[in-house]
Symmetry: C2
Subunit: 284 residues, 2 copies
Amino acid sequence: MDNPHADRVKRIATLRTASGRKRQGRFLIEGPQAVREAVTCMPSVVTDIYVDTQADPNADIIDAALEADGRDHHSIYIHKVTGRVLDHMSPDAQSIVALGVSSAMEKAATDLSTLTHATDHPLIAACWQVRDPGNEGTLIRTADAAGFDALVLVDRCVHPLNTKVIRSTAGSLFHIPVISVGTDEFFEWASSADARVWAADIHGTRDQAPYDLATLVQSSESMVPAHQPLALLFGNEARGLPADIVEKADASVKIPIYGKAESLNLAMSGAVLMYTVAMAQHQE
Amino acid sequence: MDNPHADRVKRIATLRTASGRKRQGRFLIEGPQAVREAVTCMPSVVTDIYVDTQADPNADIIDAALEADGRDHHSIYIHKVTGRVLDHMSPDAQSIVALGVSSAMEKAATDLSTLTHATDHPLIAACWQVRDPGNEGTLIRTADAAGFDALVLVDRCVHPLNTKVIRSTAGSLFHIPVISVGTDEFFEWASSADARVWAADIHGTRDQAPYDLATLVQSSESMVPAHQPLALLFGNEARGLPADIVEKADASVKIPIYGKAESLNLAMSGAVLMYTVAMAQHQE
């Protein structure tokens, strides 16, 4: 296919918008890394791959797709296209894009209660009303790298099939479950699963100042419960967590600021908190 | 001033480009947080503030500027302008911008040897050939928050007075010294200051595999030298550090990956490494 003005090219390009994604029930996966992880880890959600015939560093992806094709009565169609066509599908194609079926992705996502049963004492990262796709994708990537069992999107975060979110996850969207829930549903799960919820928050509550992360992980080991589900809850990038949500958490935790900076941004806070907890648990 | 097409407005707008910055010898500071930190922490580099007369959450900044004005024979001019004028100066003005003098900023920056003498055992973050302004600014902000004594830009990183860098530092550019050096100069300083250099690198050298960060900080305390200068060196966002630079470092350190992600991005790695080291040192 070498006509960048073909209807199909235009349809694929509109998957970069929320309305296009909803109308078509599909989502767009851009670039070699994300397409490779989708085809390798969740081939059943992928229906089509568009690959630049001139760029050949994608041979391993095509091999993986051919291997998955036909398995479980599921087909993956591979379309060879020109670079010009790919440019019109997405400026971030980097020689390859794939289409996924949104409903298949949603079906594949575990829900919170299933997760609690599947894993002994899951480690969960949750974010509340996150509105920046780059932040959300980076949190998913960090949660994956730090060995968390799932990332939970609480109360109208960015849709996880947003193209920029997927790009920022660098493939991690296809590695760990990303689960969307409401605020009440989240705390009901925490209560029924006997999970501890730590709110990332610098203010704490009237009754309880926030714990300092450095002190927390190095003090009594019961503070980092290795045998109880633990959820780290992060707030909106501009406003953090509202007081009523911090009240519902078991404790609030702040990252110490040793210099003059006012704060860390959301993605940095996520990296520091998730890794500090993960490294502490892995040492036990 | 309410004419967005005035020459002065156009001149200020071109400070967002490298050529405009060089030609005028000035740089642009956008938004309340960065302007506040510049006026509070380094008033001698600021010459002019342009503030939206309709937006009043900036009163404290103007007070700080008026207080600094005239001190040490240095003047800060405050210009009241309309929102439309500010929009033409910068889409990221958020109701206030300031102009700084590049040479004053360079003069204010400590060099590496001065730093070693000023602080007993400085903790330094360094990055090599970083090319993304957002990453560089975020590393500066993280270094500040984690209490590092300086951030060193090794071998042609993004210019620290780049407008996007300043924006991403959220004011931290005015809190800690940001020092530009060549690769040889960096290692000569490390040698003469008896500083340990840890390269953030997943490969290590032929003779020495990288240390695992989690093991490193929890093992013998001599691995995190509290009484010796320590420099963490990060590589380029796409290529990391080349082998010959890793060879020159005292050790290489990798962040453990507990999940399926291939890696963390540069800014995340910086946050995890800097904070792990900072929290370990503060516990001692």
